[in-house]
């Protein structure tokens, strides 16, 4: 499982982090909006369900799961 991010669209409301803190962290830059960062871009298969939930509930379709 490989994860990529469409960063232009992230609004930083942290739904992803609530679903799967192992993989997604939302950090606040000095100025502007908080945005998601991916902690592990190829997480273990055991996390698939949580990552899928994060992708599903992200209101902005930021999270893309490749295969």
């Amino acid at each position: 499982m490989k994860i990529s991010i469409d960063g232009d669209l992230c609004q930083g409301h942290s739904v992803c982090m609530a679903e799967c803190p192992e993989v997604f962290q939302v950090t606040e830059p000095q100025d502007g909006y908080p945005v998601v960062t991916v902690l592990v871009s190829e997480p273990a298969e055991a996390l698939r369900e949580k990552v899928t939930m994060a992708a599903k509930y992200c209101p902005n379709n930021v999270i893309i799961i490749e295969d």
Binding site: D8, L9, Q11, G12, H13, S14, V15, A18, Q30, D31, G32, Y33, P34, Y57, P59, N60, N61
Partner: protein, 445 residues
């Protein structure tokens, strides 16, 4: 490419000397926008009371609209008409870095962390609201939902005490603020005008009330779990807090974004439930299965109500409460051989996008079993990109709480022929025409 080699967007016919297409737009923007798109295609330039506005239609052009950064397509410049309503230095009137922080604080208030507290508040308000409905009766949807969403909004934004003591005054001030946004506001929102004077007085009084509340809270050490708390604790980069004017402005801005949209959507949803008994039956089966064992309307159970969610999605497709979104073009922008020049406005029509038969077959039919479209940026009731609705989770949570409670208890029916229930299409919003009365009757066990 040379600028001269680029074409200007095609112009929509029928502009009047006075006001361009403003009159046609104000009369029925749905037919106007369809005509503009049919006549000109992806880019259609029209004259919106002297402001050259380029309608961008279709998923590809809409994607460009939503992805282009603020420095190039400015939201603040397009929505200057809101400045006297929100107050000086607030959002669209704030310098870009302060504006970003304010939007961030506003989004913070609507984030996941606060959502649990809101879920509890909303569930309780819904219970109170239907407590005296009895076994059967009639309800006028626009009023009923206006009231309910005013209760939930004041409660979630400003807290329990405010909700109990101040809702009525808040309500009347808010009316004056709303009446202060008119077609003429787009010409000049600062002209001498009784409506505008009332608007300004209402904003000042609201700031007084908010200041009082803020002063009481400061240093009380209590936790409130409402939006005001988030607004009060939010900080700018230099560590300073929002002023009372800015806090008041954020409250007003959140109300403007969230109130009529939520109350209109709730009314449209109940109307579609009453119009389609076969789909209503599916919803009841689903709700009964979820709440059958007395489970509470908590955040967890709110999340997975798939049929109800699809139903609401379809309501928002057919009746998007916000119809047109705008940005001011700050730098010349190329699109497929065309140039959209700085100074113009670009617009996306949510309604037009949702009526595209290539994406939504038989678009005028209400069909909650519709497949989700494959194209991104085609189904856009909440907009998209960085300015996508910050309240969409809140809005859906609220709608699901309302309809879980209602469908568990009552059956709904129209009081007259379905054709009599039509949408009011003016003032740049879509909502059911007033009055909109339906019958309810307690479900038999």
């Amino acid at each position: 490419m040379q600028k001269s080699a680029l074409k200007q967007p095609p112009k929509v016919s029928g502009a009047l000397q006075d006001g361009g297409h403003m009159a046609e737009f104000a009369d029925n923007f749905c037919t106007f926008l369809s005509r503009a798109h049919a006549e000109c295609g992806e880019l259609a330039e029209f004259d919106f009371g002297g402001q050259n506005t380029v309608l961008m239609s279709g998923p590809a052009a809409q994607e460009v609209f939503f992805r282009t950064p603020d420095e190039q397509f400015s939201q603040a410049q397009a929505y200057q008409v809101m400045v006297p309503v929100f107050g000086p230095g607030v959002i669209f009137d704030a310098p870009p870095d302060r504006c970003k922080t304010q939007l961030k604080i506003q989004v913070d208030a609507l984030r996941y962390q606060n959502m649990k507290a809101y879920a509890g508040v909303i569930a309780q308000e819904v219970e109170d609201w239907i407590a005296d409905w009895g076994d059967e009766g009639e309800v006028e949807l626009l009023h009923a939902f206006h009231e309910l969403t005013m209760h939930t909004a004041t409660h979630c934004l400003l807290g329990k005490e405010f909700r109990q003591n101040m809702t009525d005054e808040f309500f009347s001030l808010y009316k004056d603020l709303q009446a202060g946004v008119q077609a003429i506001s787009f010409v000049d929102p600062y002209m001498q005008q009784p409506l505008f004077a009332a608007r300004d007085a209402a904003r000042e009084r609201l700031e007084e009330i908010v200041s009082e509340l803020v002063n009481k809270r400061r240093g009380s050490g209590k936790q409130y779990g409402d939006a005001l708390e988030t607004f009060m604790t939010g900080t700018y980069n230099d560590g300073s807090h929002l002023s009372d004017t800015e806090i008041t402005g954020l409250i007003i801005a959140t109300m403007f974004a969230g109130h009529h949209t939520s109350s209109g959507t709730a009314a449209e949803t109940l109307l579609e439930i009453a119009k389609h008994p076969q789909y209503a039956a599916e919803l009841k089966t689903e709700i009964d299965a979820i709440y059958g064992n007395g489970e509470e309307i908590s955040l967890a159970s709110m999340r997975a109500i798939p049929r109800l969610e699809l139903f609401i999605n379809e309501v928002l497709r057919l009746h998007p409460p916000l119809v047109i979104l705008m940005r001011r073009v700050m730098e010349d922008t190329k699109y497929k051989g065309y140039i959209i020049e700085a100074g113009k406005t670009v617009a996306v029509s949510i309604f037009e996008s949702h009526m595209n038969p290539d994406v939504f077959p038989q678009p005028e039919n209400f069909n909650p079993h519709r497949e989700e479209p494959e194209q991104a940026f085609a189904y856009i009731p909440f907009g998209g990109g960085r300015h996508k609705c910050a309240g969409n989770a809140f809005a859906l949570l609220q709608l699901k709480a309302i309809f879980s409670a209602l469908l568990r208890r009552y059956d709904f029916e129209l009081t007259g022929p379905a054709e009599d229930y039509v949408d009011e299409i003016s003032n740049m919003t879509i909502r059911p025409k007033d009055p909109c009365v339906i019958k309810y009757k307690r479900r038999r066990a």
